[in-house]
């Protein structure tokens, strides 16, 4: 916030495509990458975690780790799918941690910061969506999440999870077929 007579300077707009095209090797490249991918990655993590503070924590952890490990990843040519995989893994870890806390009787929900009120209806809907996806085999659910929540093309999903393009398409199709069956069964009961 700027509270003086003139507004605080902001960074100039960044080239999204370019900044996400290579693994950041300098702080300036890292900053451009954060700018380019923050919204989509936070949305993707939110779909899984249903908590905006947790989603931001997950994405922040991933981005900082991405820079600290930059030497190891310098050969990665498509950064975005790789980041999605890292965020997906981080979300899985956080959900496991939540389950452990709940299992030990600690109120994980109470410990979390609340969502902004505007995000609550979406969080409620995602709770229902995740209930359905949770009944699918893990890999099929993963392909569906990356496609529907993350908006990644099948080719990018294949790169993100390290399998062939036909395998990703099969996982998506079988996942949707199974989902259909679940929805059909639930509508009858």
């Amino acid at each position: 916030m700027m509270v003086g007579t003139l507004a605080m300077a902001q960074d100039p707009p960044l080239d999204t495509a370019e900044s996400a095209a290579q693994w950041p090797q300098t702080v300036a490249q890292f900053e451009a990458l954060v700018e380019a991918v923050q919204d989509e990655l936070v949305h993707f993590a939110f779909c899984r975690l249903r908590s905006l503070p947790d989603a931001e924590d997950a994405v922040q952890d991933v981005l900082v780790r991405a820079y600290l490990d930059r030497a190891r990843h310098c050969a990665v040519t498509r950064v975005r799918p790789y980041l999605y995989r890292m965020v997906a893994n981080r979300c899985t870890d956080m959900l496991r941690q939540r389950r452990r806390l709940e299992g030990s009787g600690q109120a994980a929900d109470a410990a979390r910061l609340p969502n902004p009120p505007e995000a609550e209806p979406l969080a409620d809907r995602l709770r229902e969506i995740e209930r359905l996806l949770g009944r699918l085999p893990r890999r099929q659910a993963e392909a569906i999440r990356l496609r529907i929540f993350g908006g990644l093309a099948f080719q990018a999903i294949a790169e993100a999870v390290g399998v062939s393009l036909p395998t990703v398409k099969s996982r998506f199709r079988y996942g949707v077929e199974r989902l259909r069956g679940i929805l059909h069964k639930e509508s009858r009961s």
Partner: protein, 434 residues
């Protein structure tokens, strides 16, 4: 195409990245009601799991992420120092630092003829690793009581003082007559005298362009990076005991008028003249020369830089007056009134609210727990003469709204209000200009 192969390919219709249109599949679907019904069922199932909205990262997400990265990077040298105990390792580390800077030489134009001096300065990266504290005394041509960014050739010099203690949890303080910003190792506070305060993290935006001076070991590499990107023209000169690095840059962004241009350091045409001690490679001085209307005016200059002074712990605290008014985030602001939908509406809510002393209306755009007494005194009962068309200028992502008012004390004021809605809620908030 058979029904079996058509169903196998149906996933293609849910893809976004495949430039090849599955024409054969579409033709099959057009003539096969069973497969068309199958596709419809798949589409229905996908619609059941499609989120109905999107969330975005908070407005300060990038800042917090950069702050977290800075913490991680600050932690790393502490760990490295422990292993740099042998002369050989220390020599290797210094050589690597020098190499990193010298490798940038081909990009640096005139610097290319001064490799020796640049290599000398590169040693500052290593020598400053030994620095425990820095204390900078400076002066700046800025409106008294304003932020750390506003400048103008017509203003008198105001004092600016900065302290930083390095170590495992770095702490700092920056002060001018109107503001005190303190970071105690975990969190920061900006005190805007006499009655307002804002909380921040370890790496807040409070101190604006002055931030690099708190990390003197990064000044050189930061300037070289700017030159490497072509955003500045750098030159270096070795004169006896001093090495001088001169870095000139033009204001970034497009300016529709002269409102922002040359009124803030970050949005001005200026030259920075850094001086380093040739023997210790330490930063010993900085002047910022504004190029405004054909005139060169010094708008900032250090008058003293001291290293390794003992710093009192109290420096990294700030005494706040009782009843201080805290800044709030957009999601914490009042929503009991209709919210402005445009930049002009936001300016109107602020100015008309002041005019009617309707402070709840002001708080629909003013990001604080209450309206400060200074705004109540200056703005309460003002008369709005005009509110103009909002405009954008420079690199500021908000809007400026021209206004003309008569204040309660009878003085006419013609200025621009800054408002912005680049937060996750896209809520319009007052950002200065009153």
């Amino acid at each position: 195409m058979t029904c079996r192969s058509a169903r196998r390919q149906m996933a293609d219709l849910f893809d976004s990245g495949d430039p090849v249109q599955p024409t054969e599949l579409r033709e099959h679907l057009a003539g096969c009601p069973a497969c068309a019904a199958e596709l419809e069922r798949m589409q229905h199932a996908v619609a059941e799991i499609r989120p109905t909205g999107r969330v975005s990262a908070s407005a300060d997400f990038k800042e917090r992420t950069m702050s977290k990265l800075a913490d991680e990077l600050n932690a790393a040298p502490v760990a490295r120092r422990r292993v740099r105990n042998t002369p050989l390792l220390r020599l290797l580390a210094t050589a690597a630092a020098i190499l990193a800077v010298v490798s940038a030489l081909p990009f640096l134009g005139r610097l290319g003829t001064n490799r020796g001096e640049v290599a000398l300065l590169a040693q500052s990266i290593e020598s400053l690793n030994q620095v425990r504290s820095v204390h900078i005394v400076a002066r700046m041509r800025t409106p008294r009581g304003d932020n750390f960014e506003a400048i103008g050739p017509g203003y008198d010099f105001q004092p600016v003082e900065m302290w930083k203690e390095f170590g495992e949890t770095p702490r700092w303080r920056v002060e001018n007559p109107g503001r005190v910003a303190v970071m105690d190792g975990e969190k920061s506070i900006l005190f805007i005298k006499p009655d307002r305060a804002v909380r921040g993290g370890r790496n807040p935006g409070f101190i604006e362009w002055l931030r690099p001076l708190l990390d003197p070991e990064r000044v050189l590499s930061a300037e070289l990076t700017v030159a490497q990107k072509g955003d500045s023209r750098a030159a270096i000169q070795h004169d006896g005991a001093l090495v001088t690095l001169t870095s000139s840059r033009n204001a970034p962004g497009e300016f529709v008028n002269d409102w922002v241009h040359n009124r803030m350091v970050s949005e001005s045409d200026h030259t920075r003249v850094y001086q380093f001690d040739a023997a210790t490679s330490r930063l010993t001085g900085l002047q910022v020369i504004l190029h405004d209307g054909g005139k060169d005016v010094v708008v900032f200059e250090t008058t003293g830089i001291a290293y390794n002074e003992p710093l009192a712990p109290e420096l990294f605290t700030v005494a706040l007056p009782d009843g201080v008014i805290w800044g709030v985030r957009p999601e914490q602001m009042l929503t009991n009134r209709p919210l402005p939908a445009t930049a002009r509406d936001a300016a109107e809510a602020f100015l008309e609210g002041c005019a009617q002393r309707d402070w709840d209306r002001v708080l629909t755009v003013y990001p604080a727990a209450a309206v400060s007494e200074s705004i109540k005194q200056d703005g309460g009962g003002l008369r709005v003469i005009s509110i103009g068309e909002p405009f954008q200028s420079g690199i500021y992502s908000g809007w400026f709204v021209p206004y003309e008012v008569t204040l309660a004390n009878g003085r006419d004021k013609k200025w621009n209000l800054a408002v912005r809605n680049d937060n996750s809620l896209h809520r319009w908030v007052f950002d200065g200009g009153f």
